[in-house]
Amino acid sequence: MTKKNTTINVENKEQYKKRSMWAEVWRNYKKNPSAMIGLVIVVALVLIAVFARIYFDFDTDIVQQDVQNKFAHPNGEHWFGTDHYGRDVFTRVLYGASYSLIVGIISVSISCLLGSTLGVVAAYYGGIVENIIMRICDVFVGIPSILLGVAIMSAFGQSIAVLMWAIGLVYVPMFARIARAAVLPVRDQEYIEAARVIGVKDGAIMVKHILPNALSPIIVQTTMGVANAILTASNLSFLGLGIPVPAPEWGAMLSESRNYIRDHGYLTIFPGLAIMITVLAFNLMGDGLRDALDPKLKK
C-alpha cells in the first residue's frame, strides 16, 4: 500500500522542534472521542468530589439519620431515594466520589513511585539486585490480590490510610515489572556507559537517562491502575474491610444494600453505577493515552 508522503519543509521543522512531546501527545489524544469522554467524566468527577466536600456538611448531610423517612424510593425530593436510615442516597453518592478518587489516585501513586523505583533500580544494577527485587515481586504477584488486601486490612485495621497502603502495595510488583521491562533495553546502551565514564552519579543517570524511557508505559499503567484500584477498594469495602461507615464509600453502600435487594433495588443500582462510570472513565482515559503516547500501537 502506498504510504502518505511526509515531506517536511523548513518552516515545519522549526515548529516541530518547538512543539514538545506532550503537546504532540495531547494532539493525538484529542482526536480520540472515547478518550475525551473519559477525560470529561474524570474532570466532572473531580469537580463533583470537590463540590460535595465543600457544599455538604459531613455530620448533617451524610451522617444524620431520618429513620422515619427510610426507604423512600426515588422521587422529586430524593432523586436516588433514601437508604435504611432515611439518608439521601444522591447526596451520599456525590460525596462518595471523593473517597473513590482519593483512594484510587493515592494508592496508585504509592505503587507507581515504589514500583517504578524498584523496577528502574533492578534494571540498572542488574545481577543480584535485580534478581532479589524481581523474585520478591514474583512472590507478591503469586498471591491473589484481594486475599492479600484482606490480610493487610485485617492486620492494620480498617481506615482510609491503611486501605490506600494495602492497595498501593498490592500493585507495586506490577509497576516494578513494567518499569523494568521498559528500561531494560536502554540499560546497555552506549550513552549510559558514556554518562558513567564522565562521572555522572548512578542516581542521576537513572532519573535523567533511564527513567524517561519507561514513562509512557508507566503513565498508561497509572491511569488504568486508578481504575483497578477503585475496583479493588470497592471490593474490599464490599467485604467489610474498606473505609468504615458512615463514610459513604460506594462499595460499602453496595454492601449495606445487600439485605434490601428485593424491595429496594435502587439502593444497589446507584452506587454500582457510580463505580462503573468512574472506572470506565479511567479505563477510557488510559486507553486513549496508550494510543496517544504510542501511535504505532494504535489498533
Binding site: 500500500m1 502506498t2 504510504k3 502518505k4 508522503n5 515531506t7
Partner: protein, 332 residues
C-alpha cells in the same frame, strides 16, 4: 493482436484508497497484456504501485479502504472482475499465484512448511491428504530442500530457505501465471542468485507465465522477455528487453538507467533523478513525472497519450508529438 494467446489481459485498471484524511490514487489507468509462457518485468521506484497491481490481479486489495475499478481483467481467459468469491478462491493458487517480498513473515509460524504447501495442493487438486503431503515433499525437493524437512516449522529455516518454501507453495499447483513480488530483495546477494536461477529453471520447466516485480533492472534483464516501467500508478513505457534497454524512449526510464552505476566507466558520476515521487493523494496534472522531468514543457501538464513506437514498443509521452524530440540516452 487479437489472436494472441493471452494469459493476462488488463485494461484501464484504477485503484484508489479512500480514507478519512485523503483519497490515495495508487493505480491510474494501467493496461497490461501478457502472452502465455512469457515473462514481464514490472519496474519502478518504491511506491509506484507495483505491489498494488499484483494484489489487484488476485483481487486481494483490502476493501475498505481500497476501491478497484477496471474495464477488463481476464486471467487465463476467465473474467476475474465478475467472479464470485468461490471462483476467486479456486482461481487463486491454481491459475494465478504469488510470491511475496518478505519470506520472513510470509509463512505462518504455527504450521509446518509441509502443511503449508500441502494445503494449497489439497485445496486445488482433487486428491487425498496423503497425496497432498507427498506432493509437498516433492515440491520441497524441487526447490532444493530435503523432503524430510517438511515436518519442520518456518522458524527452523533460514531466509533463503524460507523463500524457497514460499516459491514451492506458489508453484505447488502449477499456476498459469506467477507473480513474483521482489522475491530476492530480502535475501543475501549469493542467495539471490541461487533463487533467481531456480525460478528461471522452474518457469521453463512448467511453462509458467511470470510477472516479475522488481526495481532491479539487472534481474529483469536476466529473466524477462518484456519490461513495463511504472511511475505513479501507471505504465509509462513498455516493450521487449531490446526495446526498453536499448531504445529507451521515456525520460523516466532514462532516469532509472542513469541512476545505475556504470561498470565500464567507474569514474562517471551517478545521476539520480532529482526530487521525490509525488504524493499519490495529490498527483500533478497531466504527466505525473513532469515536475522531475528535464524535458518537461507546459504541454506536459495536459493529459498524456499512449504512443506506439513499434510493434512491441509503447511509450506515454506527448513530447514525441514534436517530430525531432529525443532524449539523451537515445543518442548514445
Amino acid at each position: 493482436m487479437s489472436e494472441k494467446d493471452l494469459v493476462l489481459d488488463l485494461k484501464n485498471l484504477n485503484v484508489k484508497f479512500v480514507t478519512e484524511d485523503a483519497t490515495v490514487y495508487a493505480i491510474n489507468g494501467l493496461n497490461m497484456e501478457l502472452e502465455r509462457g512469457k515473462a514481464i518485468g514490472l519496474v519502478g521506484e518504491t511506491g509506484a504501485g507495483k505491489t498494488t497491481t499484483a494484489l489487484s490481479l488476485l483481487r486481494l486489495v483490502q476493501s475498505p479502504p481500497g476501491v478497484v475499478e477496471c474495464d477488463k481483467m481476464e486471467i487465463n481467459g476467465k473474467d476475474v472482475l465478475t467472479m464470485g468469491i468461490k471462483d476467486l478462491e479456486s482461481m487463486r493458487g491454481k491459475d494465478i499465484s504469488m510470491i511475496f517480498q518478505d519470506p520472513m513473515t510470509a509463512l505462518n509460524p504455527v504450521f509446518t512448511v509441509g502443511e503449508q504447501i500441502a494445503e494449497s495442493v489439497f485445496l486445488h487438486e482433487n486428491c487425498t491428504k496423503e497425496e497432498a503431503n507427498q506432493r509437498a515433499i516433492e515440491m520441497l525437493e524441487l526447490v532444493g530442500i530435503p523432503g524430510e524437512r517438511a515436518g519442520e516449522y518456518p522458524h527452523q529455516f533460514s531466509g533463503g530457505m524460507k523463500q524457497r518454501v514460499v516459491i514451492a507453495i506458489a508453484l505447488a499447483c502449477h499456476p498459469q501465471l506467477l507473480i513474483a513480488d521482489e522475491p530476492t530483495t530480502a535475501l543475501d546477494v549469493t542467495i539471490q542468485a541461487q533463487v533467481l536461477d531456480m525460478m528461471k529453471n522452474l518457469r521453463e520447466q512448467y511453462q509458467t507465465s511470470l510477472i516479475m516485480i522488481t526495481h532491479d533492472l539487472g534481474i529483469v534483464a536476466e529473466i524477462c522477455d518484456e519490461v513495463a516501467v511504472m511511475y505513479a500508478g501507471t505504465v509509462v513505457e513498455k516493450g521487449t528487453l531490446e526495446d526498453v534497454f536499448n531504445h529507451t524512449k521515456h525520460p523516466y526510464t532514462e532516469g532509472l538507467f542513469n541512476s545505475l552505476p556504470n561498470i565500464n566507466d567507474r569514474k562517471a558520476k551517478l545521476t539520480p533523478i532529482k526530487g521525490l515521487m509525488p504524493d499519490p493523494s495529490n498527483l500533478p496534472e497531466g504527466c505525473a513525472f513532469h515536475p522531475r522531468c528535464p524535458y518537461a514543457t507546459e504541454a506536459c501538464k495536459q493529459p498524456q497519450h499512449l504512443r506506439q513506437i513499434s510493434d512491441t514498443h509503447y511509450v506515454v509521452c506527448d513530447r514525441y508529438n514534436e517530430p525531432d524530440f529525443h532524449i539523451e540516452r537515445e543518442e548514445k
